[in-house]
Amino acid sequence: MSEEFYQKLVDLYAGCELPEDLESALEKAAESDPQLAFEMKSLRELVHLLRSSPQPEFTEESNQRILMKLMARGVQLQSEEHSPGHMQYRLPIQG
């Protein structure tokens, strides 16, 4: 197996992107190859860890500070109440 192909397979396995049959074949191959087994298991655990890692929190304080800086630079921000005509399509009331 070429190094490039090996990387590709392990990486797809880590991201759970391999089709079921290929995944089983790779797992079978890993039974007799401890290095491959280590790479597969540890990288899949890492991807799972990253995907389940909590997002940085975007607080209202941060939002307000960003908005204040934008307004200080002359950016005009408008609220929903002043929606222009072309954005106010309404469906007829049903019933």
């Binding site: 590709k8 392990v10 990288l43 990253l50 890692s53 950016v75």
Partner: protein, 181 residues
């Protein structure tokens, strides 16, 4: 395409056209649609709240200033992430950011706060060419094609950096991964 995604995409197109027409409401709506995603992305590249706020603000300012270049063809997300990324890279290059402790701002349980901070610290130690694909693909869940567009590289190059980045991050986290499981 799921209904919600389709609706978001249509709404985004409407606001992009409105922004190109000079509608001041459009910028506010696009800000609301993307502020959190851009903040999260810049936070993960820069590692602290103050720099992430500055980079987010500058990103949106540039969006407004360059709104004449906008095309409502679905590439807006790539474009805005690219602006944010370039700003972060400039910032990292120019200031060699002071090593502030990663903000412990997580409002969840102590374990989840520890997890986020540990991952963030390990990410911060990675070279930017590895950190970027990890943040876009594994943390922001962006499709490979789109992440490659943001980074202006081919999909195979992205995949290669992602693989090396994952290995480097795994090695950095070392035994911590066991404890965090």
């Amino acid at each position: 395409m799921p209904d919600d995604t389709l609706r978001d995409s249509q709404s985004e197109k409407r606001w992009l056209n409105a922004l190109a027409d000079g509608d001041p409401m459009a910028f506010s709506r696009l800000y609301e649609m993307y502020n959190e995603r851009i903040y999260r992305y810049t936070f993960r590249l820069l590692g602290n709240k103050a720099d992430a706020e500055d980079a987010t603000q500058e990103t949106f300012f540039r969006v407004l200033r360059r709104s004449s270049e906008l095309r409502a063809d679905g590439a807006f997300r790539t474009w805005i992430f690219r602006i944010a990324r370039n700003l972060c890279i400039d910032r990292l290059r120019q200031h060699k950011l002071i090593e502030l402790p990663v903000d412990a701002q997580d409002s969840g349980s102590e374990d989840r706060a520890t997890l986020r901070i540990t991952v963030q610290q390990a990410l911060r130690d990675l070279p930017i060419e590895y950190r970027d694909p990890l943040v876009l693909c594994d943390l922001e869940d962006m499709p490979a094609r789109e992440a490659a567009d943001v980074l202006k590289i081919s999909v195979p190059a992205l995949k290669s950096r992602l693989y090396r980045g994952r290995k480097a991050l795994r090695d950095k986290l070392g035994g911590t991964m066991e404890k965090l499981k």
